[in-house]
């Protein structure tokens, strides 16, 4: 039996894959199918599901409403489309800001003395030792009207005798953006660091030797060679930001509702699992489409050169 297994490569493969495969089937594939089935159903009065085959949840999601003024039968209600658009744009800006903050830092760490490198990396990871929700609440303490930031500005203003109105920072899209950037920064730093660290020093020297100044060395050598890290980091940041609801819930309140909040509401407060399921699937499809076009352009974060 064991001997046969030793000789049979494909049996080995099956054996190695099967635990994860079973896990994924039970906890991902089956729930996804259930979600799909539920999304075609209709909500009953108690928040249960009447199974059927109707696209009304999707139609509603894309803004075709039957609840119209002026006696029209259908009209456009941008509520949910706006939520989807806001989620997409927030995920886009978060990823962009995270890249521009993470790259210089990762570069600095990768070029630091090997002895200090591990210390810097640990410092990058320190925030992750604290619970995600607690870290978001910490931002609330900083940003709210009587918070630390307003306190400091107010104190400085008082010293110079200037008039001061506390800034409304909490419950704005800006607050959500700051929170997202903060939460997901480490997930961009690590992959970029990994790919920058792999670039051997002689490559920088070779570029300089061939006449490239530091700026052109960066554009032609450093950046292309570190793209796998940027791509991997983007995937690690963009996808969770698209779906998260905690940051927007705590820092955005009712002002900044994202797809994540919409889905959460449908299941927990509005008690419409059919609409929540439809929103979940649309979120997934949107994320897949963006990721597909992105990875088609930049690769999947693997080595650029195939051997």
């Amino acid at each position: 039996m064991l001997k046969r297994l030793r000789e049979n490569k494909s049996a080995q493969g099956t054996l190695l894959v099967s635990p994860t495969l079973a896990w994924m089937i039970v906890l991902l594939i089956i729930p996804l199918i259930l979600t799909l089935i539920i999304s075609f159903g209709t909500r009953d009065a108690d928040g249960g599901v009447i199974y059927g085959f109707s696209f009304h949840n999707y139609i509603r999601l894309f803004g075709i409403s039957s609840d119209c003024p002026d006696g029209q039968t259908t009209c456009f209600d941008p509520l949910y489309v706006n939520i989807l658009g806001r989620s997409l744009s927030l995920a886009f800006w978060t990823t962009l800001i995270v890249i521009s903050l993470a790259y210089p830092l990762a570069y600095f760490v990768a070029r630091a003395h090997p002895k200090r490198r591990s210390t810097f990396l640990m410092l990058v990871l320190v925030p992750l030792w604290t619970n995600f929700v607690i870290r978001v609440y910490a931002w609330m303490m900083l940003l709210r009207e009587q918070g630390v930031i307003n306190g400091i500005i107010g104190w400085v203003a008082a010293r110079f005798g200037l008039p001061f109105e506390p800034l409304q920072m909490l419950y704005t899209p800006g607050a959500v953006l700051v929170g997202m950037v903060y939460e997901f920064l480490p997930f961009m730093i690590l992959p970029i660091f990994t790919s920058l660290e792999k670039i051997d020093n002689p490559l920088y020297e070779a570029a300089a030797d061939l006449g490239a100044n530091p700026f052109r060395t960066f554009l032609r050598v450093t950046l292309p060679l570190s793209m796998p890290g940027v791509v991997a980091g983007t995937i690690l940041v963009f996808i969770p930001v698209m779906g998260t609801f905690i940051v927007s819930d705590i820092l955005g309140g009712r002002q900044v509702i994202l797809v994540g909040n919409l889905i959460q509401n449908q299941f927990l407060s509005a008690r419409d699992p059919t609409f929540g399921s439809a929103a979940s699937l649309i979120l997934m499809i949107m994320t897949l489409i963006v990721t597909y076009f992105y990875t088609r352009k930049f690769g999947f974060g693997e080595e650029i050169v195939a051997v």
């Binding site: 020297e205 300089a208 030797d209 061939l210 050169v305």
Partner: protein, 372 residues
């Protein structure tokens, strides 16, 4: 006015000090003076840590001297960064850009010069032909063999037609046969393009084969500088005689200096040995007599009037082209390399262990060196 110098590269009293992990300082390069002529194939030869690579890196601009100055084409380099120096480097690790094709790798340096596109195309094509890589333009470095990658590294530096090409053990990663082929090819390319090559190697054979001149280095200092035949035939110190090729050494005291020869009393032989006074020694000085194993002649009866010593064969080793014969005389063991000019299935038949033979040390091949 820029003054053209007859020297492509010049190091004037250059020192490079590094901090050791223990916190002390170390002169990796220790007051080195070097003048490398235009069009010369110049090698820096030494074992690891002798300062040869650090010297090269200071020419390239990757390191700056702690003291002294590097001149390229007569111009003091100071802290000029690598991308502004008229030199190019072939790296030991090749340092090819893995994300670029062979063509892009080679064109990189010309693009940095902002050469026109059609000129880049011509020059890259020309250089690819020279290093025999035509047809490989669109491949990536990882798709090439080690020898081919080495050629790309050479082509990438050479295509810029620098005044000086710096090569840091470029053949170190190749197997012996390929290395020998590349040695000949590199030398041919150097002669064809007429660029000054500064070549770092720890392989004495390589240095002897390719160089116009060699600087033998040790512990950050230049021990001897000269043509291959000079450093091999007229080493100026025991270190050089030992490092390049092999030598027999015998300690002694100078009895007399006559013309360019010196008469040395060697206690081990209890006799006087006559040799070339290459070390510039004087009477009474403690010296070392050095003779290469292939220069000793073995015979049954003395072939010379003097410098003939009898000894017993203790061991023989057949190595194909030569037979190595070890002869003991007066507690001193000398190695003698006899070329196997006559084909025989049993070369040991000529020399049997315990055989009493005469070693003839020709005075013109026997060197008297000052003890260092």
């Amino acid at each position: 006015m820029t003054q053209t110098s007859e020297f492509a590269v010049e190091l004037r009293d250059v020192v490079k000090t590094f901090q050791t992990p223990e916190g002390t300082t170390l002169n990796a390069v220790d007051h080195v003076d070097m003048k490398i002529k235009n069009g010369e194939f110049f090698s820096m030869l030494g074992s690891s840590g002798c300062g040869k690579t650090t010297s090269l890196r200071m020419m390239a601009g990757f390191e700056w001297p702690s003291e002294g100055e590097v001149y390229i084409e007569g111009k003091a380099m100071g802290h000029t960064p690598p991308f502004q120096r008229p030199v190019n480097t072939v790296f030991q690790s090749y340092a090819l850009f893995q994300h670029m094709t062979i063509y892009q790798n080679i064109a990189f340096g010309l693009e940095m010069e902002k050469a026109p596109a059609n000129e880049i195309k011509t020059r890259v094509g020309h250089i690819l032909e020279m290093v025999q890589l035509n047809g490989m333009e669109r491949r990536y470095p990882k798709q090439l063999s080690g020898g081919q990658q080495q050629r790309v590294a050479l082509a990438r530096a050479l295509v810029k037609m620098p005044n000086v090409l710096l090569l840091d053990e470029p053949l170190g990663a190749l197997d012996l046969k390929l290395r020998k082929e590349m040695q000949i090819e590199l030398k041919a390319i150097q002669q064809k393009v007429g660029i000054t090559f500064v070549y770092v190697t720890h392989d004495q054979q390589e240095a002897l084969t390719m160089s116009d001149r060699i600087a033998v280095m040790s512990k950050g200092k230049v021990m001897q500088m000269g043509a291959p035949v000079e450093v091999y035939e007229r080493p100026n110190s025991r270190f050089v005689a030992d490092f390049i090729g092999e030598s027999n050494f015998m300690g002694g005291t100078v009895r007399e200096v006559e013309g360019e020869y010196a008469l040395v009393y060697v206690p081990a032989l209890n006799a006087e040995v006559k040799g070339l006074n290459t070390g510039g020694v004087s009477t009474g000085q403690t010296v070392i007599v050095s003779i290469r194993p292939e220069k000793i002649r073995l015979s049954e009866e003395p072939a010379l009037k003097m410098n003939c010593f009898r000894g017993q064969v203790t061991n023989t080793t057949y190595i194909g082209s030569d037979t190595h014969v070890y002869v003991e005389l007066g507690g001193q063991r000398l190695k003698v390399w006899e070329q196997n000019k006559i084909s025989s299935l049993d070369p040991k038949a000529y020399y049997t262990i315990g055989q009493n033979l005469c070693l003839n040390l020709f005075p013109e091949n026997t060197l008297v060196l000052a003890e260092s």
